[in-house]
């Protein structure tokens, strides 16, 4: 009301002024009918090369612009379905996977898609050895053996050989990750740059990495036309796509960081979708008749973790007491409203074997009892590193208040995200509040980090989240490894249920909620749907009325 009055007054004041003649805009802004415009914080993108990219925004772009051998089955996310592959088989010894490609497919460039392209994609991902390469090299694939282990038998047959008889569900889930995206080898080879081999990089060329950072060589429903860092990503329909063609000719992601700015732009019709909305803006959008909202749980969990180097936090009763000192319900109805769902086990919903029971509730009396048992009836002092911003700050304040009720004095140390993370990675924290997104859609991704710690020494080669909290767990580590080799999917699911239960009971992780990704949309959009992971936020089915 206030604002409207203000608006009216200023209009009257300025009406006669020459200024208004310059300012008066045409009617309501509308985005072009054949273009989807999304306001999205895309400043995390550092490379568009699917062999290198490991950021959330990039995952969405890669998911829409590249094809894979197999893709997550959105109707049952514990399975995969064929994408470029028509069928596949696993040898009896569980080591050899043979994929048969669908015939007559083309890349966006017009080049045919062959098994040789698949083999080259694997070779470059392994040899470049960037952040996501471990998803493939964990099967015993190295730069030296990749050309034998991942090879084209003929034009339409691709063979992948692993070093152990892993659960097939595990192998296939990993192959649905964006790092296994198939690139147009003919096109990429036109753009390779020579490199002088060194101890760290043994190869004489960059497999087109420099070019693909901003270039494109895929076959997805959309092709990447342009990425301007911190400004925009532009996708265009790929008319050579092998499946159903994308409905809109163009998709533009505009970098907008501010929730309130996204909301204003959405209300004004300058963007069709707002992707980074905070609860208050989300509320306002839900009430607007021209707009609507949608959401989907993502594979990211928020947790606090207790460093076991701190003698107080290392006591099992204290670890347990913390789980009763979180006001889950209050958080769910306030700071997490619309953006998170209470979820206390480490496997996000949708994963094979994920359990969805939340046994813990705020229970001060019970927590006090546990603290007394630990010899700390009067509580203690402890610090928590909190990255500034929401929801972490709000969560930390709530936790500070409930811990106080049991006599634990929590000092919050606010910091920039990278700063708190640096400290966490060096194990110098007491308590850390953060989130973990799974690397690929398989229970092993989170199990390996929450429930496994092969070497707890300071100079360990593998530094999992359990390591970062100095939680030494040889038995759970073995169990996590065993679950990888269980061929029977049902039995494998049971093993993960057991692991989750043990983490609930004993771990220094207090898992609080699973992230809900939300979006505000204009009502004239049809077919906009957020997927279960960032690389399944598909836009090709979106159309406009």
């Amino acid at each position: 009301m206030m604002l409207e009055k203000l608006a009216l007054r200023s209009r009257a004041l300025l009406a006669g002024a020459a200024l208004s003649a310059l300012l008066v805009a045409p009617a309501f802004a509308v985005t072009p009918a054949d273009t989807l415009v999304e306001g999205f914080a895309i400043d995390d993108i550092i490379s568009m090369d699917p062999g290198e990219a490991f950021e959330l925004s990039t995952a969405e772009v890669t998911g829409n612009t590249y094809d894979l051998l197999v893709r997550l089955d959105l109707s049952d996310t514990s399975k995969v379905k064929g994408d470029l592959a028509e069928s596949w088989s696993v040898s009896d010894d569980g080591l050899t996977y043979t994929f048969k490609l669908k015939p007559g497919m083309k890349f966006a460039s017009g080049n045919p898609i062959t098994a040789a392209d698949v083999a080259y994609s694997f070779e470059r991902a392994i040899k470049l050895d960037k952040s996501p390469a471990f998803i493939i090299n964990q099967f015993g694939i190295t730069g030296d053996n990749v050309t034998e282990k991942a090879k084209a038998v003929d034009d339409t047959t691709f063979q992948f050989v692993v070093d152990k008889a892993y659960a097939p569900s595990f192998v296939l889930n990993c192959l649905s990750a964006t790092v296994a995206s198939v690139v147009d080898s003919k096109l990429v080879k036109e753009h390779v740059a020579a490199v002088t081999p060194s101890a760290d990089y043994k190869w004489d060329n960059d497999f087109g990495n420099a070019w693909l950072k901003t270039g494109y060589a895929g076959s997805g429903p959309y092709k990447l036309r342009e990425w301007r860092a911190n400004e925009a990503v532009v996708l265009e329909r790929n008319d050579n796509y092998n499946g159903e063609k994308a409905k809109l000719a163009r998709v533009i992601y505009r970098n907008m960081k501010e929730s309130s700015a996204q909301r204003l732009a959405l209300e004004a019709g300058d963007i069709d979708v707002a992707r980074n909305l905070e609860p208050n803006d989300l509320d306002a959008i839900a009430k607007n008749a021209d707009l609507t909202t949608t959401s989907a749980p993502k594979g990211t969990v928020y947790y606090i973790s207790l460093n076991q180097k701190n003698p107080n936090l290392a006591k099992p009763e204290v670890r347990q007491a913390f789980k009763y000192l979180i006001d889950y319900d209050a958080m769910a109805s306030t700071i997490l409203k619309g953006i998170g769902e209470i979820h206390q086990s480490f496997l996000p919903k949708g994963d094979l074997g994920a359990i969805d029971e939340n046994p813990f509730k705020l229970d001060i009396a019970k927590a006090k009892e546990l603290l007394a048992k630990a010899g700390l009836p009067d509580g203690f002092k402890v610090t928590m590193d909190v990255r500034t911003g929401q929801p972490t700050t709000g969560m930390a304040e709530s936790i500070q208040q409930t811990l106080g009720q049991a006599g634990i004095k929590l000092e919050i140390i606010p910091g920039d995200g990278k700063q708190t993370l640096t400290k966490y990675r060096a194990r110098n924290h007491d308590i850390y509040i953060g989130n973990w997104g799974q690397d690929y859609f398989d229970p092993n991704s989170n199990a390996q980090t929450f429930a496994s710690n092969p070497d707890n020494s300071d100079n360990a080669k593998i530094k999992t989240l359990a390591w970062r909290n100095a939680w030494d767990i040889p038995d759970l580590t073995k169990e996590t490894e065993a679950a990888l080799l269980e061929k029977d999917a049902a039995k494998r699911a049971d093993m993960y249920k057991d692991l989750q239960q043990k983490i609930l009971d004993t771990s220094p992780f207090v898992i609080i909620h699973q992230q809900l990704e939300v979006a505000g949309l204009r009502k004239n959009l049809q077919g906009f749907k957020l997927g279960p992971s960032f690389d399944t936020n598909f836009v090709w089915a979106v159309s406009k009325q």
Binding site: L3, E4, L6, A7, S10, R11, S20, L22, L23, A25, F28, A29, T31, P32, T35, V37, D43, D44, I46, S47, F54, E55, D129, K130, S131, A133, F134, D200, K213, T214, A229, N230, E231, A232, I252, R254, N255, M256, K257, E258, S260, A261, L264, A265, E267, A268, D270, I271, G417, K418, Q419, L421, T422, K423, R425, G437, A460, K461, I462, K463
Partner: protein
């Protein structure tokens, strides 16, 4: 003119040339040491902050082996001094390294983002000076009057209200409610891909190419952020003008001018302002430099891809090459503006003219 006078004039001329040269030399020495100091301080702050730069490149999820290798590739395992030496050596060749976030060479990033800031700051300073100077003069001449009070309030608000709040309010009012101005960005989506900038100053580029629809669109995008920055510098400039003018108006030459019977108008605008203009140049230049330094908050609120946003983003991500490059760019501008205002000072100050 006699021979003696001629010689004297020539002598004065060469003495002046020597003076100019020596002040130029002094200026160069100062500029170079300032640069080096700037570089060293920024570099070492960048190394001292408790953020692991490898995190910026790889994110949190990279395996340990990749982290170690990247650390070596970035030269972060070398001693600080050696890292600094290598950096300065490359910088002297004009190579400021590659930005982690954008993967472009830092200099090409800066060439892209700086014009956006310059365009905004120039427009802002123009607004500030064109309105601020007369406002300050009027406030000084009519001291204690209504206009003086209004000018004071306008100045106070400009000083004390957070600019991002004003910006958001402006957006709500002029963009969301009234639809007078455009979406926070530099251009509408439709034009982004049909318009090729030449200089990077969109208003200028559109005018050069005769694309008046683009010009109008760019104008609708820039008008609010520029007006905001203009308001900020107006607040500053008008207050300073007022106090300089008050100072001048109390001088004896004003009394003398009045005694001579000059018109009040001539006294104020021709004499008092003429003398006040000398320090005003420094004030306006400083306020311009301030806006150029990147109006981080304004750029954030209006999604304006300028240098303030670029450096802040880079700093938050420990992208030190970009931060260093940006700092040097801004340092250069500061030094250049100082030099320029120095020159203007000489031109405007009647005492340096008589020579």
């Amino acid at each position: 003119m006699s021979v003696a006078e001629n010689q004297a004039a020539a002598g004065r001329g060469s003495a002046r040339a020597v003076a100019v040269l020596s002040s130029l030399g002094r200026f160069l020495v100062i500029a170079v040491t300032t640069y080096l100091g700037l570089l060293a301080v920024t570099f070492f702050i960048g190394r001292v902050i408790p953020i692991d730069p490898v995190l910026a490149v790889l994110g949190d999820r990279a395996p340990t082996a990749v982290v170690e290798r990247t650390r070596r590739e970035m030269g972060l395992d070398l001693p600080w001094i050696e890292q600094f030496y290598l950096y300065v050596k490359a910088a002297l060749r004009g190579d400021f390294g590659t930005s982690v976030l954008t993967t472009n060479p830092v200099m090409s990033d800066i060439r892209r983002v700086f014009p956006a800031t310059i365009e905004l700051a120039t427009l802002g300073t123009l607004i500030g000076a064109v309105i601020g100077v007369p406002l300050g003069v009027l406030a000084a001449v009519k001291r204690g009057s209504l206009i003086d009070q209004i000018a004071r309030i306008v100045g106070l608000i400009g000083y004390s209200v957070p600019i991002f709040w004003l910006g958001l309010l402006g957006l709500v009012l002029f963009y969301a409610k009234l639809q007078w101005i455009a979406f926070p960005a530099r251009l509408d989506v439709v034009y982004e891909y049909t318009f090729t900038p030449i200089t990077g100053f969109y208003l200028l580029d559109a005018a050069i190419q005769g694309q008046w629809d683009v010009f109008y669109d760019a104008w609708r995008h820039i008008v609010l952020p520029a007006a905001l920055l203009g308001y900020l510098s107006l607040a500053y400039i008008s207050r300073m003008t007022r106090s300089f003018m008050l100072n001048e108006l109390a001088q004896e030459y004003i009394v003398a001018a009045r005694a001579k019977g000059l018109s009040e108008r001539r006294i104020i605008w021709g004499h008092a302002l003429r003398n006040a203009a000398v320090p005003m140049v420094t004030v306006i230049a400083l306020s311009y430099a301030n806006l150029l330094e990147g109006s981080v908050l304004t750029e954030t609120v209006f999604s304006w891809p300028g240098i303030g946003l670029y450096i802040t983003n880079s700093l938050q991500n420990a992208d030190m090459n970009a931060v260093l490059g940006g700092t040097i760019a801004i340092g250069s501008v500061f030094i250049a503006i100082n030099l320029l205002s120095d020159l203007l000072y000489r031109l405007l100050d009647p005492r340096t003219k008589a020579g």
